[in-house]
């Protein structure tokens, strides 16, 4: 290879690698998983000796982020509640006892209703994943109530599905390296160079562009179907389904004033819809939740109507702060106490 070409390629790759290395080391020291340095040895769970005490899952035998119990260990008075959700309820960055499912169970127990909590939430899950777990694990654990708190991941996956359907036939997607290209893309998305450049420049470009504000009909249609499938799955294992309306950080009336950091976060989540549309999506899908609940005579824990969507309760659009978890947990406990007493 000509020397100038070889040197140009070598030094360019070297510089890129060095920059990536520096960024990765910075991320590693801040507790993030990295490609080059791996995952830092200290995690939240280990810092708080959760695994050492072995009081809490998840584990191989107990796939829930809650206090470990035996499936058969349940008295007649005890209410066993299963939370079907995603990162909003899993809250891996918080101690187990500071998540709203645990707080709800604690508050319920204090109010005289003995409670066991099965927090079956996993980051990135949608309703489909929750249903799958209900059907595979539900009979073993025999929950009395299954509370569903899901929206964000389902909206994202449905928007992607809609986008795929709109663009099918436009791509010649039959290349011999498609699998390799997909894997390459996933690898690149894990690099710090990608994350940082997208965040600082790409995010600003997306915010400046005219993103889609139309919510595809498919989102409403499929979300309703998923709620109905969830209700059917609960009934299949003889658990009472409970729907929860979803909370986002902004109400529709303040959609024009979404802070820049929130816009960046929402665009990182998906760029298929403008950030300003999320409050509208949340509101519309919450209406569908209430409609489905009324139609199937299912209890709704209406977090939206309880006006719990103030900014202090959220650290981003979807995820709660410590205060947010506490308030939501207390509200859920109050609603569940009424439901248990009335049943």
């Amino acid at each position: 290879m000509p020397v100038s070409l070889r040197n140009s390629i070598f030094y360019t790759l070297l510089f890129l690698f060095c920059i990536e290395g520096i960024l990765e080391y910075r991320g590693y020291t801040r507790g993030f998983s990295t490609l080059i340095f791996g995952t830092p040895s200290k995690t939240y769970a280990r810092d708080n000796n959760e695994n050492i005490e072995k009081s809490y899952g998840p584990s191989a035998e107990f796939p829930f982020r809650s206090s470990i119990i035996e499936p058969s260990f349940k008295t007649a008075e005890t209410v066993r509640i299963w939370i079907a959700s995603a990162s909003y309820a899993e809250a891996i960055d918080r101690p187990v006892l500071e998540t709203f499912p645990s707080m709800a169970c604690g508050a319920l127990s204090k109010s005289g209703v003995p409670c066991q909590m099965l927090n079956a939430s996993k980051a990135g899950w949608s309703i489909k994943n929750n249903i799958e777990q209900i059907l595979t694990e539900g009979r073993r654990w025999q929950p009395d109530y299954i509370l569903l708190y899901q929206m964000g991941n389902d909206v994202k996956s449905l928007l992607q599905e809609n986008d795929r359907r709109s663009n099918s036939g436009n791509d010649l997607d039959n290349g011999i390296f498609d699998v390799v290209e997909d894997k390459m893309q996933k690898l690149i998305e894990q690099t710090n160079l990608y994350v940082h450049t997208r965040e600082f420049v790409g995010g600003y470009i997306l915010i400046s562009s005219h993103l889609n504000e139309q919510i595809p009909e498919l989102v409403f249609r499929e979300y309703r179907s998923r709620l109905e499938a969830y209700i059917a799955a609960c009934k299949q294992i003889q658990a009472k389904p409970v729907l929860m309306t979803f909370l986002g950080r902004n109400r529709p009336e303040t959609a024009d004033n979404i802070p820049l950091d929130l816009k960046f976060q929402l665009l990182k989540y998906t760029s298929l819809i403008s950030p300003e549309t999320w409050p509208r999506i949340t509101s519309e899908l919450n209406k569908i939740i209430r409609q489905v609940a009324e139609q199937h005579k299912v209890l709704v824990i209406d977090l939206e109507k309880a006006a719990l969507d103030e900014p202090d309760n959220f650290k981003d659009y979807f995820h709660f702060t410590k205060i947010g978890h506490k308030k939501v947990g207390e509200f859920v406990a109050k609603e569940m106490k009424d439901a248990v007493n009335n049943s």
Partner: protein, 462 residues
């Protein structure tokens, strides 16, 4: 595998290593380039690689027959066979459904209900380019301009060479085949220029073209009624620069990559928006296509050798077919008709370049806006879309909703169009290797930053 992807970067670096360090013989390199080019194409859609091979085989053998044949009638038959094969492929994949629908529409207008058949075949990427490329080979042999290439591998490489396979430039056999037959010789200056062209192309495509599309153009054309007249006007200007940067960016990368392998491709764009007239425009925009149309269509029709009326007819037909080449849709035909019409109009009015600076500026200003109007026809998705866009544009509604970033990128695009890249490249070429590598790294980071969404090159759809 698009040029602005990591996969292509890995492919290119690996291929360069194999080309220079592993496969050292000429024959070995020929095979390597051919195999690599087919692998590149098959990364898109592997089944359609057979079409390129078919086109290559047919024209390779027809070329030999054409050269040996003395009888004019039989020569014409062989040429016809080449034309029929290549244009049939193009016709079936690209135009069949369009002409079916048009026929049905015409009959429907006359009161007859006709059921038409559509195929579901996808348009092979680059078919418009490589069929024109192989046709130029057989036509040049027929005209006695070149001799046929004796080795199939070299000819197949000429047809399928990956940098220009999917979106040009359309390289003539007379320009490229001799280079394939020469001994490998790559100078440092070529490498520097090649790498600089690749960087320039990536910036044009990703940082300018794709960003303009995302910031304004796509949304403006999708829902024109949501924007004001000023927004639509600036979006139209932006599209003019988007298509220029997208296409010339691809050409720059193609030429730059070819240079790294020691091949010199002709320039495909030369500051087209500095043109003061249509005839000048077509010597600056997509030069490889316009020269192909001139040499093989316009001149074959008679060029300007006949009466004025015949010249106008030939100009009109050439531009009409040039528009049709871009796509099987009415808007492309109208775009071709529009450019044919202004070519004729400028001839009729005997417009020549002004001698004063202000006069020339005015001519360029007027012609630029004519071209921009043409791009409106080119970009719309349907006639309804055209009417909607035009109506909103001409409503003179005020207000601007476009972002400051959009205007900044548009300004950069406008200014960069007029910059003499050669001077910058000469300056960069004097930097030591470390500084140049820092420049290349900066470009890659810039491109990565702006790669918000995956956007294909506009000319891939042709």
């Amino acid at each position: 595998m698009v040029f602005n992807s990591v996969e292509f970067g890995i492919f290119l670096v690996s291929l360069l290593y194999l080309y220079f360090s592993v496969f050292r013989g000429d024959k070995q390199r020929d095979v390597l380039l051919l195999v690599a080019s087919y692998i590149f194409y098959m990364a898109w859609y592997w089944t359609y690689a057979g079409l390129i091979f078919l086109s290559s085989i047919v024209d390779f053998f027809i070329g030999k027959k054409l050269y040996k044949e003395q009888d004019q009638k039989r020569k014409k038959l062989f040429l016809f066979a080449s034309l029929a094969t290549n244009l049939s492929l193009l016709g079936i994949f690209k135009y069949f459904n369009f002409f079916s629908d048009t026929t049905a529409t015409i009959f429907s207008g006359l009161g007859f209900q006709v059921d038409v058949w559509h195929h579901e075949l996808l348009l092979p990427v680059g078919i418009s380019f490589y069929t024109f490329q192989t046709l130029s080979y057989t036509l040049d042999i027929y005209r006695g301009k070149i001799k046929p290439e004796p080795k199939f591998i070299k000819f197949a490489t000429y047809v399928a060479f990956f940098p220009q396979l999917v979106a040009g430039p359309i390289v003539r056999a007379a320009d490229f085949l001799p280079q394939l037959n020469r001994k490998l010789a790559v100078t440092d200056k070529q490498i520097q220029l090649g790498l600089s062209l690749i960087c320039l192309g990536l910036i044009k495509k990703v940082c300018i073209a794709d960003t303009l599309a995302l910031l304004a153009v796509d949304a403006a054309f999708e829902n024109p009624q949501q924007f004001s007249s000023l927004d639509l006007l600036f979006s139209l200007y932006a599209y003019a620069f988007q298509i220029y940067c997208d296409f010339s960016g691809y050409s720059d990368i193609a030429i730059g990559v070819a240079m790294l392998f020691g091949f010199k491709f002709p320039v495909n764009f030369n500051k087209p928006y500095l043109s003061a007239s249509p005839s000048e425009f077509w010597t600056r925009w997509h030069i490889s296509l316009s020269s192909w149309l001139r040499d093989y269509l316009y001149i074959s029709l008679g060029g300007n050798r006949g009466t004025s009326l015949m010249t106008y007819r030939n100009l009109f037909l050439t531009m009409l077919l040039g528009g049709l080449w871009h796509g099987a849709a009415m808007n492309f035909i109208l775009w071709g008709i529009f450019h044919g019409s202004i070519l004729i109009l400028y001839r009729l009015l005997k417009v020549s370049n002004a001698t004063t600076t202000s006069g020339l500026f005015l001519q360029r200003f007027i012609f630029f806006h004519l071209v921009v109007f043409g791009w409106l026809l080119f970009r719309v998705t349907s006639m309804d879309n055209f009417l909607e866009y035009s109506a909103t544009l001409l409503s003179f509604s005020t207000g601007i909703s476009l972002s400051p970033l959009f205007f900044f990128i548009l300004l950069v695009a406008s200014v960069s169009h007029f910059i003499d890249f050669n001077r910058i490249q000469e300056c960069v070429g004097r930097f030591p290797i470390l500084l140049r590598s820092i420049a290349y790294t900066s470009v890659l980071l810039l491109v990565l930053s702006f790669s918000v969404e995956d956007a294909a090159f506009i000319y891939f759809q042709f």
